[in-house]
Amino acid sequence: MREQGVDITPGTLFDAEEMVINMGPQHPSTHGVLRVILKLDGETVKDLDCDIGYLHRGVEKIAEHDTYAMITPYWDRLDYVAAVSNDLCYVGGVEKLLGIEVPRRAEYLRVALTELQRIASHLLWLGTHAIDIGAVTVLLYAFREREEILKIFEDFIGARLTAHAFRIGGLWWDAYPEFEKRVRDFLKILPGRIDEYETLLNANRIWLSRTVGIGVLPADEAINLSLTGPVLRGSGVKYDLRRAQPYSVYPEFDFEIPIGENGDTYDRYLVRMAEIRQSIIIIEQALDGLPEGPVMAKVPKVIKPPVGEVYFGIEAPKGEIGVYLVSDGTTKPYRMRIRPPAFINLQSLRRLSIGHLVADVVALIGTIDIVLGEVDR
């Protein structure tokens, strides 16, 4: 008898020690509606399978019936904790299809907002990952800083979570007068706060025993699983789309790509913390060099791209998010395909978890940093 790839044949007298347990879809630490079917020997995971699709909305199909501008809000709802990054991906893809040059001021603001979103996403990841391992206080501290970012977003974009931040051709709104000051104030307090999280976690022996050596993923396996983002970089592969396939104005900024050494949960944690620090540097550069000018390019009222197809990928907080657009010359895309980082990273869960304990599965789901809105689409 098999269900979802896991053998659930009732145990006989001789192998009665195995237990199939359903984690989720209503489980506090599966980050949404992920269902993990675990086959346990005592508390050791012998086999594992993920059941996804509880949050399936058919975004790719919906896109075939909507005009190009109407699709953008749907992208907010893919990875709903990093909506701005998603918007940048989709909007960038349509702009590439149309061949529009976006004003430089808009590009700089886009980079600043996207990096703020990266910080927000990593903070949320940090909080939930820590609460999975039992450190509750980190969550509240991380959410406090995330709240500051969301307030900046609300003032700039008009929404906190599902931002609908960018429009095809630029931005709808220019930065508000205090935007620069607000962001700089926030960036001033953030490094101290990161130190606080690290005080609670970095050297803490309980945190170390829960993360070091858990879910080791060698570089070659990570590449074979086509992982991207911090999960890949934690394994020591220096691959970041901001450098590998530069987009927007990232080539103009000076920043580094942190990579891990051992590819375990602890290294992935360190990589993400280092990425927050790098994002601070990028935002500061973007604000320093913020040019004057318009924020919206000349875009026709009815967007009708030429016949053709395009792929555009960006480095979202969770990895490479990409859009593949096929245009048949009408106002609606013929096909839109999303490359979701969380969905592809999630497939490493089985490889990571086998042989570990139940408690580690929770830490490993956390370390992959999935968002079910994006996994299920």
Binding site: G158, H164, Y176, L200, N202, R205, I206, V212, A274
Partner: protein, 181 residues
């Protein structure tokens, strides 16, 4: 970038002694205790990241809503004549990704000064706030700045039918609840 490292990876004598003396655990305890201590005497404004307590007591304090916030929809009136600004062009309904707007109009003769023109006139306007995802595309499409998403955000109702807002409600706006401490 050098590979990420933490102090835990270092193997100096100082680190070993620190680990023996449980420095890592005490550091965390000290941090949480300092928060607890500061929480007892510090002023609490709510929403100030530099204070020990960040909570805003929302229903007691008015929530801070930004100027560009996209909340409840509203149909603006001409401030002079009190007539609706809507010209029933249907652009908002076309722009809406979730089809939550229905514009009803009739063609009829309208007297404008001396002349009598045949014009599209707004009759009904239905906005389904339960489907709306507050993306602002309708407001951006509006040529006369009539439809607008306002700062009011308390949209809960007791019955599903309350989510369908008619023209009257859209023009009047919902009652904005003002809280006091």
């Amino acid at each position: 970038m050098p590979r990420v490292k933490s102090t835990a990876d270092r193997r100096t004598l100082g680190e070993v002694i620190k680990r023996l003396l449980l420095f890592d655990l005490f550091k965390g305890l000290f941090l949480t205790f300092s928060y607890n201590w500061r929480a007892l005497y510090e002023k609490r404004d709510g929403g100030n990241p530099n204070q020990a307590i960040y909570t805003e007591q929302y229903p007691l304090e008015a929530a801070r809503v930004s100027e560009r916030f996209r909340g409840a929809p509203r149909l603006n009136l001409d401030p002079e004549s009190g007539q609706t600004l809507c010209i029933a062009c249907d652009l908002c309904a076309l722009a809406c990704p979730v089809d939550c707007i229905e514009v009803g109009s009739i063609r009829r003769e309208v007297r404008e000064g001396e002349k009598v023109n045949k014009k599209k006139v707004l009759t009904t306007f239905i906005f389904d706030t339960s489907r709306c995802m507050f993306c602002n595309l309708c407001s951006e499409a509006c040529p006369t700045d009539c439809l607008e998403l306002t700062q009011s955000f308390e949209l809960a109702v007791y019955h599903r039918s309350g989510f369908r807002w008619d023209r009257e409600m859209l023009e009047k706006g919902i009652d904005y609840v003002r809280y006091s401490k």
